[in-house]
Symmetry: C2
Subunit: 318 residues, 2 copies
């Protein structure tokens, strides 16, 4: 292993100078800096992260925290985020460390260990929940973090998100304009996540603009189909669905097909969870561009101290 000591010896400089040169310290002459870097390259020098982190009292890692109890289809979205995040981290010579577990306690322990033992000072949460013990921990520890998804009303922290009000309106418009849907229905869960509130607001706005009566289904995630069926039956005029996500959209679509096999319906969800080849042509999805969201999250995380910038909005694609 070649160290800065080897470079120093070879060049007849002190290790202080070599260290400073490699870090582009202004106090070292441009010429020396260039020479040191050349020799470093030539010797195949690679900085030892553990040594640097020990001195800096800070790891060059970002902790990426997964939600507990997520749906498997959402995993598709998370890996998109991971790719975007890691692309930016690599460019900064940072390492992506993952915190994921079966229970909130497991993840909490994982994150504690990242903070206290690994000395990780920056985190990205792949979700945004109100009253999350992880968020409390991160705040208490005074480390930087960014969430994917904006915080609930009354909370405030840096985040990356889409413009969900617009995305809700655009999806509604899409069904009406592209597919001639007369009576789109909005389907939400009973969780009331911030993005649900916003997409619904967009739907309601668009319905008002089109002078149509809005219809909202609130279906718990664990509904076995009974409630979904009842709601479909209660609204014979529905011919389109704006679903809060692909999972919900596909569930409603399937129930609808069972109940009214002959009748036409267009459904749109969010997340682009499945490629077009695997879904029916009447099922659509808004792409939230996870790769770009991931990249933006890192950018936000690394410019927070200087900018105090609070959020980034990423475009959706329809």
């Amino acid at each position: 292993m070649v160290t800065i000591r080897d470079i120093a010896k070879k060049m007849g400089l002190s290790i202080s100078t070599v260290s400073r040169a490699l870090n582009d310290n202004q106090r070292i002459s441009v010429r020396t800096r260039r020479q040191v870097k050349e020799v470093a390259d030539q010797l195949g020098y690679q900085p030892n992260y553990n040594a640097r982190n020990l001195t800096n009292q800070e790891a060059n890692s970002v902790g990426v925290i997964f939600p507990v109890n997520n749906r498997v289809v959402d995993n598709i979205f998370y890996v998109g985020l991971l790719r975007g995040i890691n692309q930016q981290l690599n460019a900064r010579n940072y390492v992506l460390a993952v915190a994921v577990g079966e229970s909130a306690d497991q993840v909490l322990e994982n994150v504690k260990s990242m903070i206290n033992r690994a000395q990780i000072k920056r985190f990205i949460l792949l979700y945004s929940h109100a009253e999350d013990p992880i968020i409390e921990l991160l705040k208490a520890a005074s480390v930087d973090f960014v969430t994917i998804g904006k915080p609930a009303a009354g909370q405030k922290w840096p985040y990356v998100d889409n413009d969900n009000v617009n995305a809700g309106a655009a999806a509604t418009r899409y069904l009406m304009n592209q597919y001639g849907v007369k009576q789109p229905v909005f389907v939400e869960s009973t969780n009331g996540w911030p993005y649900e509130v916003d997409r619904k607001a967009g739907y309601l706005k668009e319905m008002a603009l089109a002078d149509k009566r809005p219809i909202v289904f609130s279906i718990p995630d664990d509904d076995d189909g009974t409630l979904t069926d009842a709601l479909i039956k209660a609204h014979p005029q529905m011919d389109g669905v704006v679903a809060i996500d692909d999972y919900t959209g596909l569930k409603v679509y399937h129930r609808f097909r069972q109940l009214r096999p002959k009748q036409k319906i267009e459904v749109i969800g969010y997340n682009k969870s499945l490629p077009d080849e695997l879904v029916d042509q009447h099922f659509h999805s808004v792409d939230l561009n996870p790769h770009e969201m991931g990249q933006s999250a890192v950018q936000l995380l690394f410019q927070m101290q200087t900018d105090r910038k609070q959020y980034t909005i990423v475009d959706y694609t329809l």
Copy 2:
């Protein structure tokens, strides 16, 4: 931050003794060990990983490497693996570091940096490809690694896998016995991955046992449907499909539905990529238990030096 020095001072011991006691060194009396640990707990001592890693010349991290160019539906499987892996890593006070990128070169650079700068000595590959430059790098660097999926014929390294021959036979039997399928067809890609070879062998074995004529479709991943359609048309008697994976299975299922809407068909794929609520009741899937595979991968990775154990077989669920 409390360090071993603080514990030593408080107890009137040397830091050597404290370090040894915390590491359960036999040379320290059981009594002292217990006392040191008690005081450590009481003070809220947390070991500094960067310091330890610097001394040990080895990071307490495992690099988890994603494939390039995977299909998005496979992401579901990868996150399952990640959860299994991290559960075992947390128990060992290890950190999960991810290598993922858009191109083989990006990932290669990422892994190089993990080896040379972060001093990571153990890796898990979430895939198993022949002639992979990453594998070559890991071998050349003499670090330990385990792949998910067995190596191609002629290659040899430690891995975790299912018994794919059995899984191929079981899926074929399942269609015939549970759903009365008369003529199951096997659909593979043109990639020839080891698991394809094995699942096909299982299918062929089962067909021979049942005294039926095997039919194999080889469809390139990028087929736009033309070849799939042609093959379906050429085999009017097919009433069941054993597909190499869920992606392929769903594609064939959709084409079949378009071509012969009235005719009954049962399809089975692999990976349990989608929850039951989201797929038709005639679509089935073999669960490869990624969570367990991930756990086994870590166990194998940590007992390699002692056992020279070469692989672990994890059960599938049907």
